[in-house]
């Protein structure tokens, strides 16, 4: 029963998302424009920036697109949908399905961002396996922390501003770890060099996931 409800909710998210193709197109265009602006303003040529700058630029781009896409998981939903969900599922199911869905979305966005970065700027990543692991863990971290914040922001008046203000300080720790691990992956260091950061990311994910699971019922009821 439990897993079935989550799967149903996940399916609902996918169906709704695929039905509104303009939203996906908007997200893609947003990501593309951001990367294109980076490319134009920095006047980037092959290997003209250091690995550290590359990873910082990459994660900033991903952060902005992800905050925008996760924000809409609760902001902008119709009131009726909330009331309907309230009657058919428990808050735990809803937050878990949102977290899984958003993690997948973040992961796809970061993969697309990586692809675009390697086309327009360049692709300095040497240790691909570690890099993809970082992408996966960070997507999970973004979705666990941002889903709850989106739920909070949706209740307030100026949701979009609030979303940015509340989420940036919270995701900074994730971002710092990501930038550091990415720099190691770009330099092609051994896996053991960035295992500390990866473990930290995992720990942060666990903390924010558990907090989201525990705290979400309180905001859902109000």
């Amino acid at each position: 029963m439990n897993n079935k409800t989550i799967l149903q909710l996940l399916k609902k998210e996918f169906v709704l998302e695929l039905r509104r193709k303009s939203v996906i197109a908007g997200l893609g265009l947003y990501l593309f424009s951001l990367i294109f602006i980076c490319y134009l303003t920095f006047n980037l040529k092959q290997n003209s920036i250091s690995p550290a700058t590359w990873s910082a630029l990459f994660w900033l781009t991903i952060l902005f697109s992800v905050v925008n896409s996760v924000a809409k998981s609760f902001i902008g939903e119709k009131k009726g949908v909330f009331i309907y969900l309230y009657t058919i599922a428990s808050p735990q199911h809803i937050i878990l399905s949102k977290i899984f869905y958003n993690a997948l979305l973040c992961w796809l966005i970061s993969l697309a961002g990586y692809l675009l970065f390697s086309v327009f700027i360049f692709n300095p990543v040497q240790d691909k396996l570690t890099f993809f692991l970082v992408l996966f863990l960070v997507s999970l971290g973004f979705s666990t922390s941002l889903s709850l914040i989106s739920g909070i922001a949706a209740k307030a008046n100026n949701s979009n501003v609030l979303m940015a203000v509340m989420s940036f300080p919270v995701v900074i720790s994730i971002l710092l770890m990501a930038v550091r691990a990415t720099k190691n992956a770009v330099d092609g260091l051994e896996f053991s060099a960035s295992s500390d950061e990866l473990l930290n990311l995992l720990a942060i994910n666990c903390i924010s996931g558990a907090l989201g699971y525990i705290l979400f019922p309180y905001i859902w009821r109000s």
Binding site: S173, I204, Y218
Partner: protein, 220 residues
């Protein structure tokens, strides 16, 4: 708050200020007399973390049992904690100006502290933008707990992962190393206690003022 606690706080603060400024301190390179900042700067951060912790404690209590008193306590602790944090930031910048050469030096702990302050400023913005009182208390409590848990890695883990100029991090002699000899402890621990008591006192007064305001609104 008990009267004797207030007296203890005042006596301790008088002692800390006289002893902190007059007593002999160990001579160390670069640090020299600025080592006295330990008595005034570090207690601010201890106070801030403790006050934020109390704020989270009341936030949890509010979620378990939604009484508006708990919310008042929670937000007041956060207010006073932020004031302590800003004071800690200013004293730290003063100290850094003389020892590191510039007030802002990109030190991980300094950045982490700035982010922690940002988190609580965001908390105040969130509260300001919600009009329904019950919703404000509830969402504020949720964000408070969540943000505090997200802040801990910043303040306590990341500075230890990287090289930091902060005493006590990155191989610099710090809290438990040889430089903090017994005589400094005698001033430092009372300073922490005294400032925390002062923080509690301020919270106490602010909560009483808020309750009186609410009462006068109800009566009018």
């Amino acid at each position: 708050m008990k009267t004797w606690l207030k007296i203890v706080a005042i006596v301790l603060l008088i002692y800390v200020h006289t002893a902190g400024l007059l007593m002999d301190v160990p001579r160390l390179n670069i640090l020299n007399e600025t080592v006295r900042a330990l008595y005034f700067h570090v207690p601010m951060w201890f106070g801030m973390v403790l006050l934020y912790f109390m704020s989270v404690y009341y936030a949890i209590r509010y979620l378990r049992n939604p009484l508006s008193d708990f919310d008042t306590y929670s937000v007041t602790y956060a207010h006073v904690g932020t004031a302590f944090g800003i004071l800690g930031m200013v004293t730290g910048m003063l100290w850094a100006n003389y020892t590191w050469g510039s007030p802002w030096h990109g030190d991980p702990k300094q950045n982490g502290a700035a982010i922690a302050l940002l988190v609580y400023l965001a908390y105040f913005v969130l509260r300001g933008s919600l009009e329904n009182e019950e919703q404000r208390a509830k969402l504020g409590a949720v964000y408070n707990i969540f943000a505090f848990a997200a802040m801990i890695p910043l303040l306590f883990i990341i500075p230890r992962l990287t090289d930091s100029l902060h005493p006590g991090n990155g191989g610099n002699p710090g809290f438990n190393a040889y430089d903090l000899d017994a005589s400094m402890r005698k001033v430092f621990y009372p300073a922490v206690l005294a400032w925390f008591l002062i923080g509690l006192w301020i919270v106490n007064i602010r909560v009483r003022i808020k309750k009186l305001e609410e009462k006068s609104i109800q009566q009018s």
